[in-house]
Amino acid sequence: MASQLSLNQRAAILSIVLLVVGLLIWEAAIPAQKAAEELTEYERLTGGGAPKAGIPPPSDVLAKAWEQLSNPFYDAGPNDKGIGIQIGYSLFRVLSGYFLAALVAIPLGFLIGMSPVAYRALNPFIQVLRPISPLAWMPLALFVIQDSQLSAIFVIFICSIWPMLLNTAFGVAGVRQDWVNVARTHELGHLKTAFTVILPAAAPTIVTGMRISIGIAWLVIVAAEMLVGGTGIGYYVWNEWNNLDLTSVIFSILMIGIVGMVLDAAFAALQRTIAYAE
Protein backbone atom coordinates (compact mmCIF):
# COMPACT_ATOMS: atom_id res chain seq x y z
CA MET A 1 0.00 0.00 0.00
CA ALA A 2 2.71 2.44 1.04
CA SER A 3 4.66 1.72 -2.11
CA GLN A 4 1.76 2.97 -4.22
CA LEU A 5 2.14 6.46 -2.78
CA SER A 6 4.71 8.82 -4.20
CA LEU A 7 7.63 9.99 -2.11
CA ASN A 8 5.96 13.38 -1.65
CA GLN A 9 2.71 11.83 -0.51
CA ARG A 10 4.47 9.66 2.05
CA ALA A 11 6.45 12.66 3.30
CA ALA A 12 3.24 14.72 3.62
CA ILE A 13 1.55 11.98 5.65
CA LEU A 14 4.56 11.75 7.95
CA SER A 15 4.58 15.55 8.38
CA ILE A 16 0.93 15.55 9.42
CA VAL A 17 1.50 12.67 11.85
CA LEU A 18 4.46 14.51 13.40
CA LEU A 19 2.39 17.69 13.73
CA VAL A 20 -0.54 15.94 15.40
CA VAL A 21 1.72 13.97 17.77
CA GLY A 22 3.68 17.10 18.65
CA LEU A 23 0.51 19.08 19.38
CA LEU A 24 -0.94 16.24 21.49
CA ILE A 25 2.24 16.00 23.57
CA TRP A 26 2.21 19.78 24.04
CA GLU A 27 -1.48 19.73 25.02
CA ALA A 28 -0.96 16.87 27.45
CA ALA A 29 2.10 18.46 29.01
CA ILE A 30 0.19 21.57 30.16
CA PRO A 31 -1.29 20.85 33.63
CA ALA A 32 -4.99 21.61 33.60
CA GLN A 33 -6.13 24.44 35.80
CA LYS A 34 -7.97 23.12 38.76
CA ALA A 35 -11.60 23.97 38.69
CA ALA A 36 -12.56 26.58 41.25
CA GLU A 37 -14.90 24.32 43.21
CA GLU A 38 -12.07 21.84 43.89
CA LEU A 39 -10.08 24.50 45.75
CA THR A 40 -10.05 24.61 49.47
CA GLU A 41 -11.25 27.76 51.13
CA TYR A 42 -7.66 28.60 52.10
CA GLU A 43 -6.55 28.40 48.49
CA ARG A 44 -9.36 30.61 47.37
CA LEU A 45 -8.45 33.19 50.03
CA THR A 46 -4.79 33.27 49.00
CA GLY A 47 -5.65 33.88 45.37
CA GLY A 48 -4.96 30.34 44.17
CA GLY A 49 -8.10 30.54 42.09
CA ALA A 50 -6.74 33.33 39.88
CA PRO A 51 -5.54 32.00 36.56
CA LYS A 52 -1.78 31.56 36.59
CA ALA A 53 0.27 32.71 33.68
CA GLY A 54 1.57 29.54 32.09
CA ILE A 55 2.46 28.25 28.64
CA PRO A 56 -0.88 28.00 26.89
CA PRO A 57 -1.94 24.74 25.32
CA PRO A 58 -2.07 24.54 21.49
CA SER A 59 -5.84 24.54 21.56
CA ASP A 60 -5.75 28.07 22.99
CA VAL A 61 -3.21 29.13 20.38
CA LEU A 62 -5.39 27.73 17.60
CA ALA A 63 -8.41 29.53 18.99
CA LYS A 64 -6.38 32.73 19.12
CA ALA A 65 -5.17 32.22 15.57
CA TRP A 66 -8.73 31.72 14.39
CA GLU A 67 -9.85 34.84 16.17
CA GLN A 68 -6.98 36.94 14.84
CA LEU A 69 -7.01 35.60 11.29
CA SER A 70 -10.75 35.97 10.88
CA ASN A 71 -10.35 39.72 11.38
CA PRO A 72 -6.73 40.52 10.57
CA PHE A 73 -7.10 44.20 9.67
CA TYR A 74 -9.02 45.72 12.58
CA ASP A 75 -7.59 48.86 14.09
CA ALA A 76 -8.68 49.70 17.63
CA GLY A 77 -6.07 52.25 18.57
CA PRO A 78 -2.26 52.29 18.80
CA ASN A 79 -1.98 49.24 21.05
CA ASP A 80 -4.62 47.08 19.45
CA LYS A 81 -4.26 46.42 15.76
CA GLY A 82 -4.94 43.27 13.78
CA ILE A 83 -2.13 40.87 12.90
CA GLY A 84 -2.54 41.67 9.22
CA ILE A 85 -1.84 45.35 9.84
CA GLN A 86 1.20 44.56 11.96
CA ILE A 87 2.65 42.18 9.37
CA GLY A 88 1.87 44.73 6.69
CA TYR A 89 3.95 47.36 8.49
CA SER A 90 6.83 44.92 8.88
CA LEU A 91 6.69 43.84 5.25
CA PHE A 92 6.60 47.45 4.12
CA ARG A 93 9.78 48.21 6.11
CA VAL A 94 11.53 45.04 5.00
CA LEU A 95 10.70 45.48 1.34
CA SER A 96 11.55 49.19 1.16
CA GLY A 97 14.90 48.69 2.93
CA TYR A 98 15.55 45.60 0.87
CA PHE A 99 14.85 47.18 -2.51
CA LEU A 100 16.92 50.23 -1.68
CA ALA A 101 19.73 47.83 -0.79
CA ALA A 102 19.26 45.96 -4.07
CA LEU A 103 19.37 49.23 -6.00
CA VAL A 104 22.76 49.97 -4.48
CA ALA A 105 24.20 46.47 -4.13
CA ILE A 106 23.56 45.04 -7.59
CA PRO A 107 25.08 47.87 -9.69
CA LEU A 108 27.94 48.26 -7.22
CA GLY A 109 28.47 44.50 -7.19
CA PHE A 110 28.61 44.56 -10.99
CA LEU A 111 31.28 47.23 -10.88
CA ILE A 112 33.29 45.36 -8.26
CA GLY A 113 32.94 42.11 -10.18
CA MET A 114 34.08 43.62 -13.47
CA SER A 115 36.98 45.63 -12.11
CA PRO A 116 39.72 44.02 -10.04
CA VAL A 117 40.84 47.51 -8.98
CA ALA A 118 37.41 48.41 -7.61
CA TYR A 119 37.27 45.02 -5.90
CA ARG A 120 40.55 45.54 -4.11
CA ALA A 121 39.78 49.16 -3.26
CA LEU A 122 36.37 48.43 -1.75
CA ASN A 123 37.16 45.10 -0.16
CA PRO A 124 38.56 46.47 3.14
CA PHE A 125 35.43 48.57 3.69
CA ILE A 126 33.17 45.65 2.94
CA GLN A 127 35.08 43.34 5.25
CA VAL A 128 34.84 45.81 8.16
CA LEU A 129 31.21 46.80 7.63
CA ARG A 130 29.83 43.36 6.87
CA PRO A 131 30.20 41.71 10.30
CA ILE A 132 28.55 44.61 12.16
CA SER A 133 25.26 43.55 13.70
CA PRO A 134 22.61 45.63 11.96
CA LEU A 135 21.12 46.62 15.32
CA ALA A 136 24.41 48.28 16.27
CA TRP A 137 23.57 50.90 13.65
CA MET A 138 20.30 51.69 15.36
CA PRO A 139 21.46 54.45 17.78
CA LEU A 140 23.42 56.18 15.05
CA ALA A 141 20.52 55.84 12.64
CA LEU A 142 18.06 57.25 15.18
CA PHE A 143 20.37 60.18 15.88
CA VAL A 144 21.08 61.00 12.24
CA ILE A 145 17.70 60.24 10.70
CA GLN A 146 15.63 61.42 13.68
CA ASP A 147 12.78 59.13 12.68
CA SER A 148 12.18 55.66 14.05
CA GLN A 149 10.32 54.43 10.93
CA LEU A 150 13.14 55.43 8.62
CA SER A 151 15.75 54.14 11.06
CA ALA A 152 14.16 50.69 10.95
CA ILE A 153 14.24 50.83 7.14
CA PHE A 154 17.88 51.89 7.28
CA VAL A 155 18.73 48.93 9.49
CA ILE A 156 17.11 46.60 6.97
CA PHE A 157 18.99 48.34 4.18
CA ILE A 158 22.35 47.93 5.88
CA CYS A 159 21.84 44.27 6.78
CA SER A 160 20.55 43.14 3.40
CA ILE A 161 23.14 44.95 1.29
CA TRP A 162 26.15 42.68 2.00
CA PRO A 163 25.01 39.28 0.74
CA MET A 164 23.66 40.88 -2.43
CA LEU A 165 26.80 42.94 -2.98
CA LEU A 166 29.21 40.07 -2.44
CA ASN A 167 27.21 37.53 -4.43
CA THR A 168 26.77 39.91 -7.35
CA ALA A 169 30.49 40.67 -7.41
CA PHE A 170 31.34 36.98 -7.11
CA GLY A 171 28.86 35.99 -9.82
CA VAL A 172 29.98 38.69 -12.23
CA ALA A 173 33.67 37.97 -11.70
CA GLY A 174 33.06 34.27 -12.30
CA VAL A 175 31.34 34.57 -15.68
CA ARG A 176 33.09 32.20 -18.08
CA GLN A 177 35.54 33.94 -20.38
CA ASP A 178 34.10 31.92 -23.30
CA TRP A 179 30.75 33.68 -22.96
CA VAL A 180 32.40 37.06 -22.73
CA ASN A 181 34.34 36.13 -25.88
CA VAL A 182 31.06 35.32 -27.61
CA ALA A 183 29.90 38.83 -26.78
CA ARG A 184 33.19 40.29 -27.99
CA THR A 185 33.17 38.43 -31.30
CA HIS A 186 29.60 39.65 -31.83
CA GLU A 187 30.71 43.26 -31.27
CA LEU A 188 28.37 43.87 -28.38
CA GLY A 189 28.96 47.10 -26.51
CA HIS A 190 29.72 47.16 -22.79
CA LEU A 191 26.16 47.85 -21.74
CA LYS A 192 24.73 45.24 -24.08
CA THR A 193 27.29 42.67 -22.91
CA ALA A 194 26.38 43.45 -19.31
CA PHE A 195 22.67 42.93 -19.88
CA THR A 196 22.59 40.10 -22.42
CA VAL A 197 25.55 37.99 -21.32
CA ILE A 198 26.92 38.85 -17.89
CA LEU A 199 23.62 39.45 -16.13
CA PRO A 200 21.97 36.18 -17.20
CA ALA A 201 25.21 34.29 -16.57
CA ALA A 202 25.56 35.71 -13.06
CA ALA A 203 21.82 35.75 -12.30
CA PRO A 204 21.70 32.49 -10.32
CA THR A 205 24.47 33.69 -8.01
CA ILE A 206 22.88 37.13 -7.67
CA VAL A 207 19.48 35.69 -6.79
CA THR A 208 21.09 33.39 -4.23
CA GLY A 209 22.48 36.53 -2.60
CA MET A 210 19.05 38.17 -2.77
CA ARG A 211 17.50 35.13 -1.12
CA ILE A 212 20.02 35.18 1.73
CA SER A 213 19.40 38.92 2.12
CA ILE A 214 15.63 38.67 2.37
CA GLY A 215 16.02 35.98 5.02
CA ILE A 216 18.36 38.16 7.07
CA ALA A 217 16.11 41.20 6.61
CA TRP A 218 13.13 39.30 7.97
CA LEU A 219 15.18 38.10 10.95
CA VAL A 220 16.36 41.61 11.71
CA ILE A 221 13.02 43.42 11.36
CA VAL A 222 11.58 41.64 14.42
CA ALA A 223 14.45 42.80 16.62
CA ALA A 224 14.44 46.29 15.09
CA GLU A 225 10.72 46.73 15.72
CA MET A 226 11.10 45.60 19.31
CA LEU A 227 13.48 48.54 19.68
CA VAL A 228 11.68 51.24 17.72
CA GLY A 229 8.17 50.19 18.74
CA GLY A 230 4.88 51.56 17.53
CA THR A 231 3.90 49.11 14.84
CA GLY A 232 5.02 45.91 13.18
CA ILE A 233 5.13 42.25 14.06
CA GLY A 234 8.24 42.67 16.25
CA TYR A 235 6.49 45.35 18.28
CA TYR A 236 3.42 43.11 18.47
CA VAL A 237 5.42 40.26 20.00
CA TRP A 238 6.96 42.56 22.56
CA ASN A 239 3.65 44.27 23.34
CA GLU A 240 1.90 40.94 23.95
CA TRP A 241 4.79 39.90 26.20
CA ASN A 242 4.20 43.06 28.21
CA ASN A 243 0.51 42.14 28.32
CA LEU A 244 1.56 38.66 29.50
CA ASP A 245 -0.54 37.27 26.67
CA LEU A 246 1.59 34.24 25.83
CA THR A 247 -1.06 32.85 23.51
CA SER A 248 -0.62 35.89 21.27
CA VAL A 249 3.16 35.67 21.60
CA ILE A 250 3.17 32.06 20.38
CA PHE A 251 0.71 32.89 17.63
CA SER A 252 2.84 35.81 16.40
CA ILE A 253 5.99 33.67 16.50
CA LEU A 254 4.23 31.25 14.19
CA MET A 255 3.18 34.05 11.90
CA ILE A 256 6.77 35.33 11.69
CA GLY A 257 7.85 31.86 10.61
CA ILE A 258 5.11 31.56 8.01
CA VAL A 259 5.78 34.96 6.45
CA GLY A 260 9.53 34.19 6.38
CA MET A 261 8.78 30.92 4.64
CA VAL A 262 6.63 32.63 2.01
CA LEU A 263 9.34 35.23 1.32
CA ASP A 264 11.94 32.50 0.93
CA ALA A 265 9.67 30.44 -1.30
CA ALA A 266 9.15 33.45 -3.58
CA PHE A 267 12.90 33.77 -4.09
CA ALA A 268 13.27 30.01 -4.50
CA ALA A 269 10.74 30.21 -7.33
CA LEU A 270 12.65 33.11 -8.90
CA GLN A 271 15.84 31.08 -8.58
CA ARG A 272 14.29 28.18 -10.46
CA THR A 273 13.18 30.36 -13.35
CA ILE A 274 16.62 31.85 -13.97
CA ALA A 275 18.71 28.75 -13.24
CA TYR A 276 20.50 27.15 -16.16
CA ALA A 277 22.50 23.97 -16.58
CA GLU A 278 25.86 24.15 -18.29
Partner: protein, 300 residues
Protein backbone atom coordinates in the same frame (compact mmCIF):
# COMPACT_ATOMS: atom_id res chain seq x y z
CA UNK B 1 52.08 40.04 -56.76
CA UNK B 2 48.70 40.89 -55.30
CA UNK B 3 48.18 40.37 -51.62
CA UNK B 4 45.97 37.50 -50.47
CA UNK B 5 42.55 38.21 -48.94
CA UNK B 6 43.84 37.56 -45.47
CA UNK B 7 47.51 38.10 -44.93
CA UNK B 8 49.46 37.42 -41.80
CA UNK B 9 52.64 39.45 -41.78
CA UNK B 10 55.65 38.94 -39.54
CA UNK B 11 53.52 37.70 -36.68
CA UNK B 12 55.47 37.12 -33.48
CA UNK B 13 54.15 36.01 -30.14
CA UNK B 14 56.19 35.96 -26.97
CA UNK B 15 55.10 35.22 -23.44
CA UNK B 16 57.02 35.73 -20.22
CA UNK B 17 58.36 32.30 -19.27
CA UNK B 18 57.93 32.89 -15.55
CA UNK B 19 61.65 33.10 -14.88
CA UNK B 20 62.23 36.62 -16.10
CA UNK B 21 62.87 35.62 -19.70
CA UNK B 22 60.57 35.36 -22.66
CA UNK B 23 59.22 32.33 -24.43
CA UNK B 24 58.85 32.78 -28.16
CA UNK B 25 55.92 30.75 -29.39
CA UNK B 26 56.43 31.71 -33.02
CA UNK B 27 58.36 34.41 -34.77
CA UNK B 28 57.96 36.26 -38.07
CA UNK B 29 55.21 34.00 -39.31
CA UNK B 30 53.87 34.90 -42.76
CA UNK B 31 51.08 33.26 -44.64
CA UNK B 32 47.97 34.19 -46.58
CA UNK B 33 44.51 32.89 -47.22
CA UNK B 34 42.60 33.55 -50.43
CA UNK B 35 38.96 34.51 -50.53
CA UNK B 36 36.67 31.50 -50.42
CA UNK B 37 39.49 29.18 -49.44
CA UNK B 38 39.22 26.52 -46.75
CA UNK B 39 42.55 26.40 -44.95
CA UNK B 40 43.35 23.99 -42.14
CA UNK B 41 46.31 24.33 -39.84
CA UNK B 42 47.81 21.14 -38.41
CA UNK B 43 50.39 20.86 -35.69
CA UNK B 44 51.10 19.37 -32.31
CA UNK B 45 49.68 20.81 -29.10
CA UNK B 46 51.60 23.79 -27.83
CA UNK B 47 52.88 24.92 -31.22
CA UNK B 48 50.80 28.08 -31.07
CA UNK B 49 47.89 27.20 -33.35
CA UNK B 50 45.37 28.45 -30.83
CA UNK B 51 47.40 31.61 -30.31
CA UNK B 52 47.27 32.31 -34.04
CA UNK B 53 43.54 31.64 -33.96
CA UNK B 54 42.99 34.03 -31.06
CA UNK B 55 45.01 36.72 -32.83
CA UNK B 56 42.99 36.26 -36.02
CA UNK B 57 39.79 36.44 -33.97
CA UNK B 58 41.04 39.62 -32.33
CA UNK B 59 40.76 38.10 -28.86
CA UNK B 60 44.53 38.32 -28.29
CA UNK B 61 47.18 40.81 -29.34
CA UNK B 62 50.39 39.60 -31.00
CA UNK B 63 53.71 40.80 -29.64
CA UNK B 64 54.46 42.19 -33.08
CA UNK B 65 53.27 41.84 -36.64
CA UNK B 66 49.95 42.50 -38.29
CA UNK B 67 47.01 40.62 -39.69
CA UNK B 68 45.42 42.30 -42.70
CA UNK B 69 42.05 41.36 -44.05
CA UNK B 70 40.88 42.84 -47.32
CA UNK B 71 43.75 45.31 -47.06
CA UNK B 72 42.97 46.58 -43.57
CA UNK B 73 44.84 45.68 -40.40
CA UNK B 74 42.54 43.95 -37.93
CA UNK B 75 42.40 44.99 -34.32
CA UNK B 76 39.99 43.63 -31.77
CA UNK B 77 37.17 41.17 -32.32
CA UNK B 78 34.67 41.80 -35.07
CA UNK B 79 31.55 40.33 -36.61
CA UNK B 80 33.57 40.00 -39.82
CA UNK B 81 35.52 37.21 -38.16
CA UNK B 82 33.16 34.58 -36.78
CA UNK B 83 34.49 31.99 -34.35
CA UNK B 84 33.39 28.45 -33.55
CA UNK B 85 35.07 27.38 -30.34
CA UNK B 86 35.93 23.83 -29.34
CA UNK B 87 33.69 24.00 -26.27
CA UNK B 88 30.77 25.28 -28.40
CA UNK B 89 30.45 28.53 -26.36
CA UNK B 90 26.70 28.52 -26.55
CA UNK B 91 24.95 30.62 -23.94
CA UNK B 92 23.44 27.94 -21.68
CA UNK B 93 20.43 30.00 -20.59
CA UNK B 94 19.22 30.40 -24.18
CA UNK B 95 17.62 27.75 -26.36
CA UNK B 96 19.41 26.58 -29.50
CA UNK B 97 17.23 28.85 -31.61
CA UNK B 98 17.79 31.83 -29.33
CA UNK B 99 21.53 31.28 -29.44
CA UNK B 100 21.43 31.61 -33.23
CA UNK B 101 19.07 34.58 -32.98
CA UNK B 102 21.53 36.19 -30.56
CA UNK B 103 24.17 36.12 -33.30
CA UNK B 104 21.85 37.21 -36.10
CA UNK B 105 20.49 40.11 -34.03
CA UNK B 106 24.04 41.27 -33.32
CA UNK B 107 24.90 41.13 -37.02
CA UNK B 108 21.73 42.65 -38.44
CA UNK B 109 20.58 45.19 -35.89
CA UNK B 110 18.00 46.66 -38.25
CA UNK B 111 16.20 43.39 -39.02
CA UNK B 112 12.71 42.78 -37.74
CA UNK B 113 12.32 40.00 -35.15
CA UNK B 114 10.39 37.93 -37.69
CA UNK B 115 13.21 38.17 -40.19
CA UNK B 116 15.79 37.27 -37.54
CA UNK B 117 13.70 34.26 -36.56
CA UNK B 118 13.27 33.06 -40.12
CA UNK B 119 16.97 33.47 -40.90
CA UNK B 120 17.95 31.62 -37.71
CA UNK B 121 15.58 28.74 -38.39
CA UNK B 122 16.90 28.44 -41.93
CA UNK B 123 20.49 28.04 -40.77
CA UNK B 124 19.56 25.58 -38.03
CA UNK B 125 17.76 23.56 -40.69
CA UNK B 126 20.91 23.62 -42.80
CA UNK B 127 22.77 21.74 -40.07
CA UNK B 128 19.88 19.33 -39.65
CA UNK B 129 18.21 20.86 -36.60
CA UNK B 130 14.49 21.30 -37.05
CA UNK B 131 11.33 20.91 -35.01
CA UNK B 132 11.15 20.81 -31.23
CA UNK B 133 14.83 20.23 -30.79
CA UNK B 134 15.68 23.87 -31.58
CA UNK B 135 13.79 25.00 -28.49
CA UNK B 136 15.98 22.93 -26.19
CA UNK B 137 18.68 24.42 -24.01
CA UNK B 138 22.27 23.44 -24.84
CA UNK B 139 22.44 21.24 -21.73
CA UNK B 140 19.65 19.12 -23.21
CA UNK B 141 21.50 18.63 -26.49
CA UNK B 142 24.25 16.14 -27.30
CA UNK B 143 27.75 17.41 -27.98
CA UNK B 144 27.27 16.96 -31.71
CA UNK B 145 24.02 18.92 -31.72
CA UNK B 146 25.59 21.71 -29.67
CA UNK B 147 28.41 22.04 -32.16
CA UNK B 148 25.84 22.09 -34.99
CA UNK B 149 24.12 25.02 -33.29
CA UNK B 150 27.44 26.75 -32.91
CA UNK B 151 28.23 26.22 -36.62
CA UNK B 152 24.76 27.46 -37.59
CA UNK B 153 25.31 30.58 -35.47
CA UNK B 154 28.63 31.25 -37.18
CA UNK B 155 27.41 30.65 -40.76
CA UNK B 156 24.18 32.61 -40.23
CA UNK B 157 26.29 35.73 -39.73
CA UNK B 158 28.16 35.43 -43.05
CA UNK B 159 31.48 36.54 -41.57
CA UNK B 160 34.23 37.45 -44.02
CA UNK B 161 36.42 34.92 -42.28
CA UNK B 162 35.18 31.96 -40.29
CA UNK B 163 37.54 30.63 -37.64
CA UNK B 164 37.03 27.08 -36.39
CA UNK B 165 39.06 26.22 -33.29
CA UNK B 166 39.20 22.43 -33.17
CA UNK B 167 35.44 22.35 -33.58
CA UNK B 168 35.13 18.58 -33.47
CA UNK B 169 37.81 17.90 -30.87
CA UNK B 170 35.35 17.03 -28.12
CA UNK B 171 33.16 14.74 -30.24
CA UNK B 172 33.29 10.99 -30.67
CA UNK B 173 34.62 9.71 -33.99
CA UNK B 174 31.25 8.72 -35.48
CA UNK B 175 29.56 12.03 -34.67
CA UNK B 176 32.62 13.85 -35.92
CA UNK B 177 32.27 12.15 -39.30
CA UNK B 178 28.65 13.20 -39.79
CA UNK B 179 29.24 16.76 -38.69
CA UNK B 180 32.28 17.08 -40.94
CA UNK B 181 30.06 16.24 -43.88
CA UNK B 182 27.41 18.65 -42.68
CA UNK B 183 30.06 21.35 -42.43
CA UNK B 184 31.10 20.60 -46.02
CA UNK B 185 27.49 20.77 -47.13
CA UNK B 186 26.82 24.13 -45.49
CA UNK B 187 30.19 25.46 -46.66
CA UNK B 188 29.85 24.46 -50.30
CA UNK B 189 27.62 26.89 -52.06
CA UNK B 190 28.82 29.74 -49.87
CA UNK B 191 31.91 31.73 -50.68
CA UNK B 192 32.88 31.43 -47.05
CA UNK B 193 36.56 31.77 -46.25
CA UNK B 194 37.42 29.34 -43.47
CA UNK B 195 40.47 28.94 -41.27
CA UNK B 196 40.39 25.88 -39.06
CA UNK B 197 42.57 24.24 -36.44
CA UNK B 198 42.60 20.50 -36.05
CA UNK B 199 44.65 17.56 -34.80
CA UNK B 200 42.97 15.13 -37.10
CA UNK B 201 44.78 14.39 -40.37
CA UNK B 202 41.83 12.73 -42.11
CA UNK B 203 39.55 15.58 -41.13
CA UNK B 204 42.05 18.06 -42.56
CA UNK B 205 42.28 16.22 -45.90
CA UNK B 206 38.51 15.88 -46.17
CA UNK B 207 37.81 19.55 -45.52
CA UNK B 208 40.75 21.60 -46.69
CA UNK B 209 41.81 23.25 -49.91
CA UNK B 210 45.19 23.72 -48.32
CA UNK B 211 46.81 22.49 -45.14
CA UNK B 212 49.35 24.58 -43.25
CA UNK B 213 51.81 22.48 -41.27
CA UNK B 214 53.36 23.86 -38.13
CA UNK B 215 56.56 22.66 -36.50
CA UNK B 216 56.73 22.16 -32.77
CA UNK B 217 57.38 25.13 -30.52
CA UNK B 218 59.15 27.09 -29.23
CA UNK B 219 60.03 29.11 -32.35
CA UNK B 220 57.30 27.23 -34.18
CA UNK B 221 57.05 27.90 -37.88
CA UNK B 222 54.41 27.44 -40.48
CA UNK B 223 56.76 25.27 -42.46
CA UNK B 224 54.70 23.92 -45.32
CA UNK B 225 51.53 24.61 -47.19
CA UNK B 226 50.18 21.40 -48.70
CA UNK B 227 47.65 21.70 -51.52
CA UNK B 228 44.93 19.10 -51.30
CA UNK B 229 44.68 17.93 -54.88
CA UNK B 230 41.46 16.00 -54.48
CA UNK B 231 38.49 17.42 -56.36
CA UNK B 232 35.30 18.45 -54.62
CA UNK B 233 32.65 17.47 -53.72
CA UNK B 234 34.34 15.05 -51.38
CA UNK B 235 32.90 12.45 -49.08
CA UNK B 236 34.73 10.43 -46.47
CA UNK B 237 34.12 7.17 -48.25
CA UNK B 238 35.15 8.35 -51.69
CA UNK B 239 38.28 10.37 -51.02
CA UNK B 240 40.15 7.32 -49.72
CA UNK B 241 39.96 5.87 -53.23
CA UNK B 242 41.52 8.90 -54.83
CA UNK B 243 45.10 8.29 -55.97
CA UNK B 244 46.38 11.37 -54.16
CA UNK B 245 44.79 10.57 -50.83
CA UNK B 246 47.39 8.27 -49.33
CA UNK B 247 50.27 10.20 -50.81
CA UNK B 248 49.05 13.35 -49.11
CA UNK B 249 48.20 11.54 -45.92
CA UNK B 250 51.59 9.92 -45.87
CA UNK B 251 53.28 13.27 -46.31
CA UNK B 252 51.30 14.75 -43.43
CA UNK B 253 51.97 11.79 -41.16
CA UNK B 254 55.67 11.99 -41.90
CA UNK B 255 55.69 15.68 -41.17
CA UNK B 256 53.84 15.44 -37.88
CA UNK B 257 55.57 12.28 -36.79
CA UNK B 258 59.14 13.18 -37.63
CA UNK B 259 59.90 16.44 -39.35
CA UNK B 260 57.89 18.69 -37.04
CA UNK B 261 60.29 17.63 -34.30
CA UNK B 262 63.42 17.89 -36.41
CA UNK B 263 62.50 21.40 -37.44
CA UNK B 264 61.48 22.41 -33.92
CA UNK B 265 63.34 24.97 -31.87
CA UNK B 266 65.37 26.29 -34.81
CA UNK B 267 65.52 30.03 -34.72
CA UNK B 268 65.67 31.28 -38.27
CA UNK B 269 66.26 34.94 -39.02
CA UNK B 270 64.04 36.93 -41.29
CA UNK B 271 60.45 36.47 -42.39
CA UNK B 272 59.28 32.89 -42.68
CA UNK B 273 57.02 31.71 -45.44
CA UNK B 274 55.62 28.23 -45.79
CA UNK B 275 56.98 26.19 -48.63
CA UNK B 276 54.25 25.07 -51.01
CA UNK B 277 53.96 21.33 -51.48
CA UNK B 278 51.79 19.92 -54.22
CA UNK B 279 51.26 16.20 -54.43
CA UNK B 280 49.38 15.21 -57.55
CA UNK B 281 49.33 11.81 -59.13
CA UNK B 282 47.13 11.25 -62.08
CA UNK B 283 46.95 7.48 -61.79
CA UNK B 284 46.79 5.06 -58.91
CA UNK B 285 50.11 4.95 -57.10
CA UNK B 286 52.51 2.23 -58.13
CA UNK B 287 53.92 0.13 -55.34
CA UNK B 288 57.16 2.02 -55.01
CA UNK B 289 60.34 1.10 -53.22
CA UNK B 290 59.94 4.09 -51.01
CA UNK B 291 62.05 4.66 -47.95
CA UNK B 292 58.93 5.92 -46.18
CA UNK B 293 56.72 3.07 -45.07
CA UNK B 294 53.08 3.77 -45.80
CA UNK B 295 50.41 4.23 -43.21
CA UNK B 296 52.70 4.50 -40.30
CA UNK B 297 51.07 5.44 -37.04
CA UNK B 298 52.14 8.70 -35.49
CA UNK B 299 54.22 8.08 -32.42
CA UNK B 300 54.81 11.35 -30.74
Amino acid sequence: MSKPYLSVENLTQQFPDGQGGTLTVFENANFGIEKGEFVVILGHSGCGKSTIMNILAGLAEPTSGVVKMDGFAVSGPSLDRGVVFQNYSLLPWLSALRNVQFGVKARHRDWSPAKVLEHSRMFLAKVGLEGDVIHRKPSQLSGGMRQRVSIARAFANHPKLLLLDEPFGALDALTRGTIQEELLKIWSGTEQTVFMITHDIDEAILLADRILLMTNGPFARVAESVDITIPRPRTRTEIVDHPNYYAIRNHLVQFLGRRSKELAGQKVEGPQRPETVRIARESAPEPEPDANPRLRAVNS
